[in-house]
């Protein structure tokens, strides 16, 4: 029996689902081992029972909560797909303001259908078994996690920081040319793709389990950042993870 796999989405950019689609030839091979039973973006079919549900996006409205609980009920294993689902991701950027203020700023209007609450990760509503971090997720990591689940193993995420992948690939450190980088406290697994792109890490994969924040902050201070600016560094993708 092939395992039944579903993809679901809530508030997000759908980039994580698309990353799965973009696995292309690899996806074709994976489809030999699973039965894709639900994937609204590309399929009309739905399913009663799901073995593994990958859920993208944040939970922002009462209706979302209900729909997520139903998905949980139908699924044996539920995996958060991407930062939005894992920790609120970029959606949580506005959580320094109330939803009312946000509504006024964008719509200058308070019609009932515009109602939202502060975006929450899936785990605020249901039990999340595993997670695929990143904004967007890394396709290869998704495959490895799916493989592990198909073999009934516990998927594991790297516990070390992005710097490791950066050093392995011998990229120049962005601190060397004056760009502050979140790599030292961010979970590896993306092959330091942003540093490869000539930029710096903004921490889209969330913090490592044991971020060494005080030495890290000292380094940031040496690069002329104030406490406020340091906290700001965490604020693109890590708003809901308490900035340490």
């Amino acid at each position: 029996m092939k395992m039944k796999v579903g993809l679901f989405d809530f508030a997000g950019c759908e980039g994580c689902q698309l990353t799965v689609m973009n696995l292309e030839d690899q996806l074709l091979q994976v489809l030999q081992h699973i039965e894709l039973v639900e994937f609204r973006e590309l399929m009309t079919e739905t399913a009663e029972q799901i073995d593994i549900a990958f859920v993208e996006g944040s939970i922002c409205r009462p209706g979302d909560r209900q729909r997520l609980k139903q998905i949980r009920q139908r699924s044996k294993v539920l995996v958060a797909l991407g930062s939005c689902a894992d920790n609120g991701g970029v959606n949580a950027l506005g959580s320094d303001r109330t939803p009312e203020v946000l509504r006024q700023q964008v719509y200058a209007n308070d019609l009932p259908h515009l109602y939202t609450e502060t975006p929450q990760p899936l785990s605020a509503v249901v039990k999340v078994d595993y997670r695929v971090p990143g904004c967007p997720i890394d396709g290869q990591e998704f495959l490895a996690i799916l493989q592990a689940l198909l073999l009934q193993q516990q998927p594991e995420l790297p516990a070390f920081a992005v710097c490791v992948e950066c050093k392995l690939a011998e990229y120049p450190c962005s601190f060397d040319y004056g760009q502050v980088c979140l790599g030292p406290v961010t979970r590896a697994g993306c092959r330091a793709i942003c540093i490869d792109g000539g930029g710096h890490c903004r921490g889209c994969r969330g913090l490592i389990d044991n971020p060494r924040t005080s030495p890290y902050h000292r380094i940031l201070e040496q690069h002329g950042l104030t406490v406020e600016e340091i906290l700001d560094q965490y604020r693109t993708f890590n708003v809901s993870e308490k900035a340490p």
Binding site: G12, E14, M43, H113, P119
Partner: protein
């Protein structure tokens, strides 16, 4: 009779379809956009300009490159930063890659099942292996453009204010070129496939808007052109284009001079057909796409023509880049200036506007984005009203299917429209 379809499938984002009929009269017919508002325009306030393009990319995974590029363009305009020619070429190449992958995803995975009578392309995994494999192959090549130039197919990592922070090696471009050439047979097969489909006849006069085809096919210009032959600067768009709130939609809708209008592939083809690449022009003729009244169902054909245009132009871009020689990455200094600007780009689904105002510290004080799908939403509803009377003899299921096809033909991106 009442049709209530929750969560339309095979579209980007979340929308419901509602049709209520009382005998021969349609009493209610709506496309509800229920996508959760994410408040990007508010979230940008207080952020530094160096973070803006990274954040706005997350408005939409499918057109993250367009959001990135238009946001950079807007800020560069405000700061009067000159983008070097190599970077301009690379950005163009990146856009072609994005449009091609977005169109191919739509053509094969969202629209094609309707024409083949299956709920999804995955149903054909066994029976039509070659078709599915071809779909994925084509998508792969389009995505490869984005990866080689943008560092990642979704949410690019090499783009930055003033140009690029990393550029591909010449050897990578050469390899990419070979891959692009190798897709030509697949493209041919695709044209054959889509040429064989019947599209419902549903033409209506409409205003179609896109960036003016100045030197080439609409992509990036400072002027807009409408099918009513009106040309006006992007900066004055707010004098004609007005955003408004509908109780049916969490996305803000838009109208031009009080009326609904269409953006996207059909609009671009309508206004810029003469600038198509030679191969694309031939395909356009073969698919008989020269009419002046527009049938939204034929958006599919327009999309296919654009795919071919993108691949052909991408080849030219690569050749030009290689001919000039891949120079070093030069990123200009970012001046500490306050600024304000609006710019637009042709995203896969149509004209995309970004406007920002920021202070001397580079902190955003105000931001606004007008999304292609939001501009098309009013058009879709208008089409509903015109189309439904023609469908009244059909069963509820068939009506629903036709309407779904109509919505899909626009390839709406609801997550994007409710940014």
């Amino acid at each position: 009779m009442k049709i209530e379809l929750d969560y339309l499938t095979r579209i980007e984002g979340h929308g419901h379809l509602i049709v209520e009929r009382d005998g021969d009269k349609i009493v209610n017919c709506r496309l509800q956009v229920v996508e959760t508002p994410r408040f990007f325009e508010a979230m940008l306030q207080g952020r530094h300009i160096s973070d803006v393009s990274t954040i706005v990319a997350r408005v939409c995974g499918v057109c993250s490159i367009s959001h990135t590029l238009v946001s950079l363009k807007t800020m560069e305009k405000a700061l009067q930063i000159e983008v070097p020619p190599q970077a301009q070429l690379l950005r163009r190449l990146l856009s072609y890659g994005e449009t091609a992958q977005s169109h191919l995803l739509h053509l094969y995975f969202m629209a094609l099942p309707d024409h083949l009578g299956v709920p999804s392309l995955f149903k054909l995994l066994d029976s039509k292996q070659e078709l599915v494999a071809r779909a994925l192959r084509l998508k792969r090549t389009a995505n490869r453009i984005c990866e080689v130039v943008g560092g990642r197919s979704i949410h690019p990592v090499t783009t930055c204010l003033g140009g690029f922070s990393a550029r591909p090696e010449a050897s990578e471009l050469k390899k990419l070129r070979q891959e692009l050439v190798a897709t030509l047979p697949d493209l041919e097969a695709t044209v054959e496939l889509f040429a064989s489909f019947e599209f419902p006849a549903f033409n209506r006069q409409r205003n179609a808007l896109c960036l003016a085809p100045e030197n080439d096919y609409p992509l990036s210009s400072d002027n807009l052109l409408s099918s009513n032959h009106e040309r006006f600067p992007v900066t004055s768009h707010h004098q004609r284009i007005e955003e408004y709130i509908s109780p049916d939609s969490t996305a803000k809708l838009a109208r031009c001079e009080g009326d609904c209008y269409m953006v996207g592939p059909q609009a671009r083809l309508r206004n810029g057909q003469q600038k198509l690449s030679p191969m694309a022009a031939k395909v356009a003729t073969a698919l008989s796409l020269e009419q002046t009244t527009l049938n939204p169902f034929e958006n599919l054909k327009a999309r296919l023509v654009e795919v071919i245009h993108c691949i052909e132009e991408a080849l030219h871009c690569i050749d030009e880049l290689l001919l000039r020689g891949m120079g070093r990455v030069v990123t200009p200094n970012i001046p500490s200036l306050a600024g304000e600007a609006t710019a637009a780009i042709e995203a896969p689904r149509g004209t995309l506007f970004h406007s920002y105002r920021f202070n001397t510290q580079g902190i955003i004080e105000e931001a606004n984005c007008i999304i292609p799908t939001a501009q098309n939403l009013a058009s879709i509803e208008e089409d509903f009203k015109r189309l439904l009377p023609q469908l009244l003899d059909l069963s509820a299921a068939d009506i629903q299917h036709k309407l779904e096809m109509l919505v899909r033909a626009y390839d709406p991106c609801l997550s994007c429209s409710t940014h």
